[in-house]
């Protein structure tokens, strides 16, 4: 340690560096609480939408919330338009495991739709643990 030239007295720069790290440390919890409050406010709107046949209520809609696709398996007839609603606080994608279909980034509050042609397994390329399946009949 003696080879390292360390300051021998506390300095304003030192205080600022330490404060900066504490701000970084606080940033995560602050963002989580902030987005949680936003999600709580948004959940009312989501519930209202569901009452009107929105996300989760229809037979051709997949919701994204809590880092999950809901339902995990959706079965529709060939030619049906399937809507993927991002009701989460994070951006997601609908990416076919075997390639082909890729929604790109779907920001919170946005949707992606496709016309069901064949069955495929898909996942979120931002959160790979999010997986689901679209089953197409007929």
């Amino acid at each position: 340690m003696s080879d390292v030239a360390e300051p021998r007295t506390a300095s304003l720069a030192g205080v600022l560096v330490v404060l900066l790290f504490l701000v970084f440390a606080a940033a995560g919890p602050v963002v989580i609480v902030w987005e949680r409050l936003g999600a709580d406010t948004g959940s009312g709107a989501a519930a209202a939408a569901e009452e009107g046949g929105g996300a989760g209520g229809g037979g051709n809609t997949v919701g994204m919330a809590g880092l999950k696709f809901q339902p995990g398996t959706l079965t529709v007839a060939k030619g049906t338009t399937v809507v993927f609603d991002n009701d989460d606080t994070a951006p997601h994608t609908v990416t076919a495991r075997s390639g082909g279909t890729d929604s790109g980034v779907i920001d919170p509050g946005k949707s992606f739709s496709l016309v069901a042609a064949s069955s495929f397994d898909y996942f979120c390329s931002i959160h790979p643990s999010m997986t689901a399946k679209l089953v197409v009949t007929g």
């Binding site: 300051p7 021998r8 030192g14 440390a25 995560g28 989580i32 809590g66 880092l67 931002i126 790979p128």
Partner: protein
């Protein structure tokens, strides 16, 4: 959220892959920091360099590793930092916070704001490495196993 979309577009839709690569580099950098610190504390003969060189390398490597860590942390904070489920994501956030708390402690010692903390530097450094390991395990490891 537009920042994440822009970054993702800029990286050809491979933002997550870049985060995986950079997070792995940060983890490797943290491991090298431990080795270098052990060398200049003369607790180890590995790597085979002088203690002065080890101290300088520790500082340079630490600066680079910290820069990468802040860059990755930024994309987490402006992007998918909000959800607290599943537990993996919550733990990832907790360890991310812990890293910066430990860095604040470390720099409080280095900048002579907490003089009595000298003796705790090895423990703080070890804690940093373990926290980076936990961050890696709750992100990159999940990415790999999900493939």
């Amino acid at each position: 959220m537009d920042i994440i979309k822009s970054l993702n577009d800029l990286l050809g839709g491979q933002l997550l892959l870049w985060k995986v690569i950079l997070t792995s580099l940060v983890f490797a950098g943290a491991g090298l920091q431990v080795l270098l610190a052990a060398r200049f504390y003369e607790a180890s003969t590995v790597p085979p360099v002088s203690t002065g060189t080890a101290a300088t390398a520790h500082r340079v490597n630490g600066t680079l590793t910290l820069g990468l860590a802040v860059a990755v942390a930024f994309t987490c904070l402006v992007g998918p930092a909000g959800p607290t489920s599943p537990t993996r994501v919550l733990l990832h956030s907790v360890f991310g916070t812990l890293v910066f708390v430990l860095l604040a402690l470390k720099f409080a010692v280095l900048k002579r704001l907490w003089r009595a903390g000298d003796r705790y530097l090895p423990w703080i450094g070890s804690g940093l490495f373990l926290s980076f390991a936990a961050i890696w395990a709750t992100s990159v490891a999940d990415y790999i196993t999900a493939r």
